[in-house]
């Protein structure tokens, strides 16, 4: 198949980028707004994506690809599970507005698919190698990861004075503390955990 002329590729990409940017702020924004943001006529937008649903699924596919690319860059096989997860977090942070979109789960729903599985594998590796608290279920760890990722992105957006680097620093700090049984400079036996030992937690 011909590679759709290059011009069409660029137009299509511009529409997708605009869609991601606008939908992140307002998942109910109109196609007219998206077309305008992409500097494209609404007619042209409809020429590329016949219905709104088509655009949405294309955005989902694009987002999924970016996620996979980020995961590859993070080299999840390297180091402990906890380290890999933090590297992934840095890569994800660069996804920008896509974070809002994924987190609000407005567009598609199959963001992760195959991804989900490999991330769980990384977390379980962390459970075994001691870099992630084994008490925390994998899907809970993922929830915390995504929520803090989104929080960091929103935090950066609301505070132009704080640098991307600074926010990323706060993020990795709180995240690693959340997961690690006691990652930072082994502060010593936590295991005592007074008060909660006997309570029949967990069912």
């Amino acid at each position: 198949m011909p590679v759709t002329s290059g011009v069409k590729n660029r137009t299509r990409q511009a529409i997708l980028d605009a869609a991601i940017g606008l939908l992140a702020d307002n998942p109910a924004c109109s196609l007219g707004d998206i077309a305008a943001a992409a500097q494209v006529g609404r007619t042209t937008l409809h020429r590329y994506f016949a219905e709104r649903a088509d655009l949405m699924s294309a955005v989902a596919v694009e987002g999924g690809q970016r996620l996979v690319r980020a995961a590859r860059l993070a080299e999840l096989d390297r180091g402990t599970g906890g380290e890999a997860l933090l590297r992934l977090c840095r890569e994800y942070f660069d996804l920008g507005p896509l974070l809002s979109l994924i987190f609000s789960e407005q567009a598609g729903e199959c963001w992760e698919e195959q991804d989900e599985g490999s991330l769980v594998a990384v977390i379980e590796r962390g459970h075994r190698d001691g870099s992630i608290d084994p008490v925390l279920p994998s899907d809970w760890v993922l929830s915390v990861l995504w929520s803090q990722l989104y929080a960091a992105w929103a935090y950066l957006g609301e505070r132009p004075e704080s640098s991307r680097h600074h926010v990323l620093d706060l993020l990795t700090r709180t995240l690693s503390h959340s997961f690690g049984p006691r990652t930072p400079t082994a502060t010593e036996p936590v295991r005592g955990e007074a008060g909660r030992g006997e309570a029949g937690r967990d069912r």
Copy 2:
């Protein structure tokens, strides 16, 4: 002013409850849906809230009141800053769907207002008494608090098999780890009522 008849109060409250529940899932839901969920005619809804904006601001006011009430129940003055923040978190968790609404910041915008200030005060107290890592800015701590609160609520909603108590437990664990520089036993205040005197853990 008369207390608006009691019946009207109940109707008004039913509409507000339905609105909070539906808007949490879909901030763009129609007034017809809200009226139906409240088991009320659309006409009646318009009789209480002339325009959509009126309903939205009433929801914002209602939410703000619930926030203040939760903060009062948390007795923020007691114990270390970190302990107070975790107690607040438990109270906030009970707000249910309101969490989604507040977090997405769709409705009004003045959710916190006066609240914001007192929360920052609690966090700064935690900075001083050593229960919250002084390196973390107050607003970042708040961001993490809200995002994980929302994540926990969503987590519970997607997994009917996990108990409210279990999720709350995961939440306080990861949250306290996020904030505390070295406060392993900070998760103690699970009971709440008993063991007051132990609070003197600050340095």
